[in-house]
């Protein structure tokens, strides 16, 4: 199948590229734009490591075709830090030992950003349910939940 031209905004920068219709957004980000921070695990929506933010909402980038991201605004793990200053959630992940091998971390961070930024009054049980969207085989989740709860408190300003 022929490649199609797409133009999208990734982490604030306009990007133009070519993709065969069957290329996933995850593959496009990694292979065409070199943004390998977005990981790929199961490629059927279950593990969550490929989660990115599309027009303000977390989505599985393995289940969207790149051509569907035409004219959309995508935010990936590479867009969280501000230059050399880490995003508050990244700092909290580090402080709370919320990662070991780090494979799930990009998906965890993008999922948490959507959960908290779009619902600042989120409760700890809702955070627990929400973060089960991403599978972590290392940490046992305690540090992850602590970090996201602390981030929610920061956002709420308490």
């Amino acid at each position: 199948m022929d490649e199609q031209s797409i133009s999208l905004t990734v982490n604030g920068t306009e990007q133009n590229g070519e993709a065969e219709p069957r290329m996933s957004l995850a593959d496009f980000l990694r292979e065409r734009l070199g943004l390998t921070g977005t990981h790929i695990g199961c490629e059927h929506g279950v593990c969550g490591v490929c989660t990115v933010i599309c027009d303000g909402m977390a989505v599985r980038s393995c289940l969207m075709f790149a051509v569907q991201a035409d004219k959309k605004e995508i935010r990936t793990i590479e867009g969280l830090a501000d230059g050399d200053t880490m995003h508050p959630l990244q700092t909290l992940f580090s402080e709370q030992r919320a990662l070991q091998c780090g494979f799930c971390t990009p998906g965890m961070l993008m999922t948490a950003v959507d959960l908290v930024d779009n619902n600042p009054s989120i409760t700890p049980p809702e955070i627990k349910a929400g973060m089960s969207a991403v599978l972590c085989r290392c940490t046992g989740y305690e540090g992850i939940l602590k970090a996201v709860e602390a981030y929610a408190k920061q956002i709420k300003g308490v």
Partner: protein, 290 residues
């Protein structure tokens, strides 16, 4: 790249989509949220020749308040339904069912039309719509049909939709005053498909039950209306004994299978327990609204 190659087409109107469907059925597939179809394509269990993407048809995404019912466009995202105050106040069972579907990033893309057309035996929306007495509006180039939920779900991932038809709208009656509801389920992990789930809705006038509807998911080829269980409540009122009889009746009228996740017997047990829980929760909420 995992899926087999396909021709990708993006119609911008319902009429255009219907013409494409007519031209390319049965080898074409409609792409809604992609949260069931794309995994199947990645496994190459589905290899459509043409993929007709419904994501650029604005007329398919809406939640509309009508006099006695709510209309929901097929391409309305599960997340939009979850966040709709209209759904929450007029058809709260649908809200509670949505909260059980997968995880937020999946609900950001997944649509009500996709879930209903896909008709997974364990999906929440089909059971909720059976309980709510919903109707589906499907269109083809030849015209329009309106199908009741009770005639719509035919078997495992099988519905009344013909290959040249598009589901465009779901119609759900608003609930009357004095109504309570509950959607309860058990799954192995939060966000997984249910091993068993029960949707309940009941209307009370004082202490009298004027209406009760129950349906189950995950315990048969498609959602099952629990007629015998309902009858126990209608005949004997809402007592501890009648709720128990209803739970027993429910366990007998479902048709579960044994699979990797649970045995058929265990699913029957769950059906009884969940029926009891759903009735009690719905009763409590109906009393609050009386």
């Amino acid at each position: 790249m995992k899926p087999a190659p396909f021709n990708y087409i993006v119609p911008t109107s319902i009429d255009e989509a219907l013409a494409l469907l007519e031209e390319h059925a049965p080898d074409a597939r409609l792409l809604a949220g992609g949260q069931s179809l794309v995994p199947m394509m990645n496994f190459r269990l589905s290899r459509p020749s043409h993929l007709i993407d419904l994501n650029c048809i604005p007329d398919l995404a809406f939640i509309q308040d009508n006099k006695d019912h709510i209309s929901i466009g097929a391409m309305t995202r599960e997340r939009t339904i979850e966040e709709s105050s209209l759904v929450r106040s007029s058809i709260p069972l649908l809200y509670e069912a949505t909260r059980h579907i997968a995880h937020l990033p999946i609900r950001s893309r997944g649509t009500i039309g996709g879930s209903i057309s896909n008709a997974d035996p364990a999906a929440e929306y089909p059971a909720a719509l059976l309980t709510l007495d919903g109707e589906m509006v499907v269109r083809s180039k030849q015209g329009k049909r309106q199908i009741k939920a009770s005639d719509f779900f035919k078997g495992i991932m099988e519905t009344a939709i013909e290959p040249n038809e598009l589901l465009v709208e779901i119609i759900v009656p608003k609930v009357p005053p004095g109504t309570g509801f509950a959607f309860v389920e058990i799954s192995r992990r939060h966000g997984d498909y249910a091993l068993a789930g029960i949707a309940a809705q009941m209307t009370l006038s004082g202490k009298t039950v004027t209406n009760v509807r129950l349906a189950a998911c995950g315990v048969g080829p498609c959602p099952i209306r629990l007629n015998d269980a309902e009858k126990q409540i209608i005949d004997d009122g809402l007592t501890e004994k009648s709720i128990q009889s209803a739970a027993k009746a429910a366990a007998l009228e479902v048709d579960p299978e044994t699979d990797l996740h649970a045995t058929a017997d265990y699913r029957r047990r769950l059906t009884a327990v969940l029926t009891q829980q759903a009735l009690l929760k719905a009763k409590e909420r109906a009393q609050e609204n009386n």
